[in-house]
Each structure stands twice: as structure tokens, then as C-alpha cells.
Symmetry: C2
Subunit: 562 residues, 2 copies
């Protein structure tokens, strides 16, 4: 056994260790060590190392050469120059798999495995004497996580990459299998390059899921095989489209970085854009409802937003259309999961739709009974092509829909609703607006709103997200149902212009909560969060400043209790 | 006389006119007009046209060629293609000065003139029949404003730049002479390129003043002749410095774009950074005060932030040092104005400084009397080199300091304090935190602050700034004292990563309030604000999205009362 200590205080030492998320177990020393100019990552112990692993190692080498991040201390490392000059050089990081199975799975294959079979742990040992460092794991995905950790250990001064904290012994694995980030590409469109840059950034903090809320009522940018009219008529324009080739590019890029892309086509609400190409399937299309609903304040606060329009869930043709659309869309993705939505179903929309009312009457069904049938057809169709459904909380808590036991349920309205989901025995993904909505607090997007407030004020600070307890109000025997969580970016007021700045470094805080577990101290976390934010900027992702640089260079000096 | 109508409703027509700020007087038609492929801006009627005017005309031509902004309507202009194809072509914009004075002043010279002598009006007439458009003004600065307006009139479709609203008759001039934007480059440093890009953006909405809060307690990036130690020891690092050459570059770049750079060296508070090179002049330097002050909640809320340190205002050597520093720094700038600060003077700092206490006792002065003497020496030194002082409101409202009548007073604590400044007969610049602070509402920057709130919550929406009445609570005979106002970016949580996204398009709203006057309707403004934000992005300034693109393409459709 290695001598391991779980640390927290340690990390407030100067220069602060820059690991984010914090490894579950780490011990470190106080010896200087630098990377040899001939430093290399040795994969030769792995027979038939998959290409995405060698690519990952090449990216690590590239970051080690180009990050050029100076330590966040007042002299930026100058006073350590002599120690670094005299330090031993690390020439090799030797990478190996623990299991000697003949078939080595690629990172990409492992990244898209079901949550329960995803293996991300690794052991990283870096001696202080310059002898080979070793990275070992049971999976190439675990090795990738370890490479990511390795990249964060080094600062640059005068051409040398060094650490002052060798030796390191790190044994690490995530607290929760699902660590996500949700991006809405329907309210405003994001070019593929923005998504790929975001995937890189996600991988740097070990986020393993892109929840891609790809379409919504405002636009339908996804090219779905067999349903090309949807994007032809529903995208904002011909350039604001994700082609099948774009999607494959994104999915492959993500998988090679340990990220599963869980796409969502939100149904039966949030589907107005479908009315442009398949009007027969959409109740209450965009013409009227915003006005009518706006006259009823209780409906405004249900957060319906224009354009209105929902799938005619009682119409058999629409039920079949939806199941076909979902399965065709799902075929573009490699994930075991697919999101079918289910949030904010607006009853007034169906009340005013004569066709839906007649169909319900003819079938002798209530709206909820029709929703149940609609959902079951969709979910069964997805299951038939190997996909497990992901739904928003209303499908369980508001409507009496029959869900398969393995359905993942996302709680968004309030973290208070998590307990109810778990009580019903379902696996939960934390996505609560009161902690993780990145869009809140920037004023309202609704026009003619003089107050300019937003429904989910105030702004959700990184401190708030970092304080989140994924197991709050749950009994011990319910803990296994918590799969993880994510920050979310709804894009009513976001686009390529502020993607990086509204997401980073805030979204890194949930990445740590769901990798390292809760209970972290915000004071101890801040120097490390500065560090990762500065490193992001070195790599071209524009994470914002959390404090004046004066504070960033002096851990603790700007604390209220300093 | 031209047939002029002041419009507001007109602008909600589709496609929305994209003028921002709204001209004071405009009439327009409904005829299509396009720019000829050989369109040119003719300056030959101006004898000896200054180079910065011909440069400005070249930039306008460049924007006309490269903006390629499509109309914000659902079909982006497609349905107008036939009208545009059949439209007359405008071949020439003929630019002339009304006065026939032999000496033509450059834009740069006029931009730095004192506020009362700055002339920015212009008349722009664009016939619908393709005959020459004319731009006339009494100043090259006015011509530049007119060129800026001209640039905003055109959309692009299929290679043509067109308008559907010819003819235009515009007679325009600003409601207030001071329309500014404040940038703090001390909490976090901004490279020169960021500042120049911001100057371009400012000029696009006719902002005429960069209030450059260049140094503060956290860092001293300004190289001041004769005081080079200040930046050598007080800047964050050797690269985070504005050299004299950088400053000249910024000042000249600004002036050529109609912008006066009013620099500020905040005194006697906000000067901790000076202690690194001139410790003898600084009371209570950074070591202790944050802790002590933090123990007294009333002092925390006075917004003192680390590091503490204030000029020893009762020490004659410090008084002389300050006056020399200010005059030397002022020599770098061409403006008639220079900011001497005066906000947030912390009494505890002086109470605990034995030297200051002895000096006060020896001189038989109260602290305020010493502050008065200190300020008068600084201001007289500046006046001797032709500079009028700009101060924060406390110098008038909190401390009984004798100020020259022409001092510009900036109100920041609350817009409620404007009336008190004006009652004392002083000229006021609106800079109130409750309307114009761009940093508010993003959580607190202070460490170990679990709530993560900020002192000036909530976020100041564009709607809030747009609703500002510069003349509120003032009598008619006080109106002339209101010189204008500005948005402000304090950069505790900002840096190059979010400069564009936190500033734009919000800062455009004060630009319109102080150019066009108050009373604008937020519903009518929104389509134009979308337009300028989209145009900014076409020009490489990353203004954020205010709404889903679905709403941006459908003026009014996302209004609450739609």
C-alpha cells in the first residue's frame, strides 16, 4: 500500500497545487522536479495501444510544451529558479494497463459505455529522483484521466516545466459516474468549432458527458436522416445546421476525449420548430399562444416561451412520427442514452387544440394517459435500438408516466425535488436551476420587460455550485441512485460571443463536486480554481477572472477572514 | 427647412432601422436603394482634408464592404431581392464642411477639445433616386459621427448593400457632450489590442470619452515619466505595463475615432501599489488592514478592498510627490481633463498611521482639512498644465474640499446623489452604480464568501440603463450642469476573457441615453439594439445575444404584451 493522505489544507500552500478536480487520494512532497527536454510518454507497455490513446498522449505532450503557465505566486516562480535548475529531470512517464487482456478497448469505446460499466480510475506515481513516473489504470479511459491530471502538475519558468511538490502518489477515481455539461444549441446556434473547443475544456476537468439539447421550439438545427425538412425549414438558416457529418465529428471528437454525447430531442413540448415542416403534428403553433399565455401570470411563470407548439400526443400518426424521429436522431449518436425531454408541457396548448381534444375524447383518455402512451411508444422504440431514455423530472413527478426502471431522471426545477425522484426508485442526474443554471441573473430576455429580471435570479455563483451536496436529504440506501450532475447553459442570452465566459470556470465546480465528492471548502478551492482558469486561458478557452490578479497571486489574502 | 419627423414607432417596422444611437431628428421613406459597386466617399470639397478624416472615410468604406450584415427579419432579406435588384444605386456620398474656414481642424483635435466647445452635429441627406448623398457638418468630428450613422443604414443580401428606407433626412447632434465608458485596467490588466478594439466599438455608438481608470491599489501598470519605479514594481509583471508609447498609441487611436481619453490616478485612496516603490508615501500598506477592516462589517460595506494603502495626505513631501506624479502622468494624455479620484477614503487607515496622526497634530489640521490642502495642491498643479480635474462624488459630498467651479464630479454611489452635486453648482457626470456598473450581479470576488453575493447586486440590465433619466430630480435651471454619463467596468472579475461580453451591447444603452436623450421605449429599442449587437459581431466585437435568434428576427414577438 502507498502512504496516502487525503489533503485539503495542503493545497493552500504556495505555490498551490493546481489539480482540478481534486484527486480522491493524493500524497505529495516538497522536492523540485522538472520535465526533461526529452520527456516522453511511453505507451509501449500497452500492446496495440489504440490510436485515440496515442493521440491523447500526444495532446498531453503538446500541453506540457505549450501551456507555459507560470505559478500563481507573486514572483511567478522566479525565486524557485535555483531549486528548479538543480532539480532532477523526469524523462519518462510510463503508461500501462493493469489488466493484461488481449483486446484493449479504445478511450472512445469506453467513454460511451453505460454509466455502470464506465471505469475511469487511475494511479499516478511520480518519484522525486527523476526515475520513471508511472500511470496505471484498468482502462484506457482511466489512463486518459490520469494524463489529464499529469498535465496540471507543471508550471513554467524560464523554459523549464517544473513542480515543487514531488514525489506524487495519486490514486484517483470519480465519486459519481455522470459528470456533465448541458448546451442548448436551439435558442442560439453554436458553430461546430465552439462545441469542439468546449469538449476540450470539459475533458480538462474530467467532465464525461455532453448533454446536447440540440433542438427546441426556436430552431431545429439537427439534420435527422429521413427528416431533412426539419432542419431545412426549422434551422435559423442554411449555415446554422449540424449535418450528420458534423454530428459524427462532434461525437468522435468527444469520445476520444472521454466524453459521451447524450443528445436530447425534447418532446412533446418544445417542438414548435417542427410545425414548419410537419404542421400536422403540432398543436397550437406559434401564432397565438404567447399573447394568450402572457395574459395569465401563472402561465408566464411556468416559463413557457415563444414560439408555442407541442406534438399532438394523442394523434397516432404523431406518436409514430415521434418514435421514428427519435430513433433516427438517436442513430447519429453512439451513446447508450438519449434524451426525450418531457419538461414544461403546457396544458393550455392542448386545451385549445381541437384535434387533440377530439382524439382524447375518441380514445377516452385523459391528457396524462395519452402522454403515458406517447412516452411509452417513444421509449420502447429507443430501447429497441439500444438506447436508454433520459427525461426531465416532470415525467416522473408531475405526470403519471410509466417509465422503465433504468430511465435517468434529470431534476431541474429545484434541488428540493431530488428526494421525490429517488423515493420513486429512479436514478437521478442533478441539474437543478438553483445551483447549476449558468444563464440566471443576467436579466430577462423577454421583450418589454422593464424590470429586466429573470425567472431564476440570482446569478448562480461558483461558490453556490461548489457548496452543493449531491446526497442532501437522501438516506444511505438511496445514495446509489445519484448518478451525478451537471451545469447547464440555456442560451436565450448566450451565443458564441459569451460561451467561454459564461461557462468557465463555473462549470468546473460541478465537475469537481461530482468527481471528488462534496464537502470541499471554497477557500481552499479558490487558488486551484484560479489555476485551472489561468490554464484554460493559456489553452485558448477564455475562462473569466474570479478576482483581481493581486488576489490570485496571494492565496487567502482576499478572503473575508484573512 | 427639411420635412423632419421625430420617430419612434417607425423604427419597429420591418426591417428595423438599425441606427444606434437614434438620431435626434430623422425622416425616412420606403424606397429601396443600394450602394453602387463603385460607391465612393467624396472628400474633395474639403480643402486640406485632415488625414484622420480620410482615414475615417476609408474605414467607413471598409465597413460597408465587409459588414455583410443581413437584415434581422425571418428571411434575412430574401423577399426583398427583387426590389433591391431594381433599386437605384447610390454612387457617391459627398462630404463637406459648412464653415469655409481656411484651417480645418482634424477629428483628433476636435475630439480632445473641452466639452463646451466640442461640436458633433451633422446633417445627412440620402435621396432615393441615386443622386449624391450629402453629409455636412460644422466640424470634422461631426462629419465622423455622420459617417458612423451612414455605416449603419445598409444590409447585405446576395452581394448587395441596400436599404429599404430611402430617402433619408437626418439632422443629428448629441443631447449631452460627455458620453463615456470607464475601464479599470488595475484589478486585471488588458492588453493594448483589447483597449483599441474597445475604442473602435465605442466609436460605433458615438461614445466620445474613455475614462481610463488606469491604476489602483492592486497594480500600477502605467509607465509615468520620472516615476518608472511605480510600474516596474507595481505592475503585475513586466509585460502588463502601458509604456509611454502604448499610451500615445491609445490616445491617438482614440482621438482619430472621436474619443477623448480621460485618465485617472485615484488619490489619496486606492494607492497601495505605490507602496512597492515609494513606501514612505503610503499609510497602512497592504500587510494588515483587510483583516482589521473586515472585522467591522460597516467597513466591509464601504467597499474597501485589499490591498489597503493610502497616500500620506498630511505629509508635505507626499503632497508634492502626488502633484508631480499627477502632472507627469497627465503629460501623457492630450485631454483637457484628468481624474484625481477621491473615492472611498478610509479613515481607519489614517487613524492607525502614526506618521499621519503626528503630522495632523503638528499642523493643527483635521483629516478633512489636510485632504482639502492635498487636493488643492494637486488640482492647481494640473490646472497649471492645462488640465481640469475630474473627481468622484465624495470629494464634494462627503469631504468639505474646495473645488474649482469647472471640476467635473462623477456620481457613482447612487443616482440619488446627483441632485446634491448639482445643488452645489457643479457639473456632473452620471456614473451611478445602480444603473451603470457592468460588474454587478456576477457574485462576489471576495474569497471565503459562501453567499457569493456582490455589494451592488443585482446585475444591471440594459433595460435598467436605458430607462435612466439624466435630469431626474433636477430643476430646469440645473439641467445645464448635467454633462452626460457612462457605463463603467470595474474589473475584479473581468479581464480580456470577458471584456466584450460583459460590456456589449449593454454599454451602448447609455451611449443612446446621452446622445439621443432619455425617454426611449425599451420595446422599440430592442430591435435596434439587436441590430447593433449583430453588427458588432460582424466587426469582431463579441457583443452577446439579448434573445433567442427567433426573437431577434421577429421584432415584438417575444414581448410580454405581444
Amino acid at each position: 500500500m502507498l502512504p496516502l493522505t487525503v489533503l485539503a489544507l495542503f493545497l493552500t500552500l504556495s505555490p498551490a497545487s493546481a489539480l482540478w478536480p481534486l484527486p480522491r487520494q493524493i500524497s505529495k512532497g516538497s522536492t523540485a522536479l522538472k520535465l526533461s527536454p526529452s520527456f516522453n510518454i511511453k505507451l509501449s507497455d500497452i500492446k496495440n495501444a489504440p490510436k485515440d490513446l496515442s493521440d491523447a498522449a500526444a495532446r498531453t505532450s503538446n500541453y506540457l510544451r505549450n501551456d507555459k503557465l507560470q505559478a500563481l505566486v507573486v514572483d511567478r516562480g522566479a525565486s524557485s529558479a535555483e531549486r528548479v535548475a538543480a532539480a532532477k529531470s523526469l524523462k519518462t512517464l510510463s503508461v500501462s494497463l493493469v489488466s493484461s487482456s488481449k483486446t484493449v478497448r479504445s478511450i472512445s469505446e469506453e467513454a460511451i459505455a453505460p454509466l455502470e460499466s464506465r471505469v475511469e480510475g487511475y494511479t499516478l506515481i511520480i518519484p522525486a529522483d527523476g526515475s520513471d513516473a508511472t500511470l496505471r489504470a484498468n482502462s484506457t479511459l482511466g489512463l486518459f484521466r490520469g494524463l489529464t491530471t499529469f498535465e496540471q502538475l507543471w508550471y513554467e519558468w524560464d523554459g523549464s516545466s517544473y513542480s515543487l511538490e514531488a514525489p506524487f502518489n495519486i490514486v484517483d477515481s470519480p465519486a459519481y459516474p455522470y459528470r456533465g455539461f448541458m448546451l442548448d444549441t436551439a435558442r442560439n446556434y453554436f458553430p461546430v468549432a465552439d462545441i469542439k473547443r468546449t469538449l476540450d475544456a470539459m475533458s480538462w476537468v474530467k467532465i464525461n458527458t455532453l448533454h446536447w439539447h440540440v433542438v427546441d421550439s426556436q430552431s431545429f438545427p439537427l439534420q435527422v436522416p429521413g427528416f431533412l425538412e426539419l432542419s431545412q425549414k426549422g434551422a435559423y438558416n442554411a449555415r446554422s445546421v449540424y449535418t450528420a457529418s458534423d454530428v459524427k465529428g462532434i461525437v468522435d471528437y468527444a469520445a476520444a476525449r472521454g466524453i459521451d454525447v447524450v443528445a436530447e430531442i425534447d418532446t412533446p413540448g418544445h417542438t414548435s420548430a417542427i410545425s414548419k415542416s410537419f404542421p400536422e403534428h403540432i398543436a397550437c403553433p406559434e401564432a397565438s399562444p404567447w399573447t394568450q399565455f402572457a395574459n395569465d401570470p401563472s402561465l408566464i411563470t411556468s416559463c413557457t416561451e415563444p414560439p408555442a407548439g407541442q406534438l399532438r400526443l394523442a394523434n397516432p400518426a404523431t406518436v409514430n412520427f415521434t418514435a421514428s424521429l427519435l430513433t433516427s436522431a438517436a442513430s447519429l449518436f453512439r451513446s447508450s442514452y438519449f434524451g426525450t425531454g418531457g419538461d414544461e408541457i403546457n396544458l393550455n396548448c392542448y386545451t385549445q387544440d381541437n384535434q387533440t381534444q377530439s382524439e382524447l375524447t375518441a380514445q377516452g383518455k385523459t391528457l396524462d394517459e395519452a402522454l403515458d402512451a406517447f412516452t411509452q411508444v417513444s421509449h420502447k422504440a429507443l430501447k429497441a435500438v439500444g438506447k436508454t431514455a433520459v427525461v426531465w423530472e416532470e415525467m416522473l413527478l408531475v405526470h403519471p408516466v410509466t417509465l422503465a426502471n433504468d430511465t435517468l431522471v434529470m431534476v431541474w426545477i429545484s434541488s428540493d425535488n431530488v428526494a421525490a425522484v429517488v423515493q420513486k426508485g429512479f436514478q437521478v442526474i442533478h441539474a437543478a436551476s438553483d445551483y447549476f443554471y449558468l444563464d440566471c441573473g443576467h436579466g430577462g430576455w423577454v421583450g418589454q420587460n422593464p424590470l429586466g429580471n429573470s425567472w431564476c435570479d440570482p446569478f448562480k455563483t461558483w461558490q453556490k455550485a461548489y457548496s452543493f451536496d449531491p446526497l442532501a436529504n437522501l438516506t444511505t440506501d438511496q445514495h446509489h441512485l445519484v448518478q451525478g450532475g451537471q451545469h447547464l447553459l440555456w442560451t436565450e442570452q448566450s451565443g458564441p460571443a459569451n460561451l467561454d465566459s459564461i461557462v468557465w470556470p463555473r462549470a468546473a465546480t460541478s465537475a469537481e463536486v461530482f468527481w471528488s465528492g462534496s464537502g470541499g471548502d471554497i477557500g481552499a478551492a479558490l487558488p486551484r480554481l484560479h489555476d485551472i482558469a489561468y490554464r484554460f486561458n493559456q489553452r485558448g478557452v477564455k475562462a473569466i477572472a474570479l478576482q483581481p490578479e493581486w488576489c490570485a497571486l496571494r492565496p487567502g489574502a482576499c478572503d473575508l477572514n484573512a
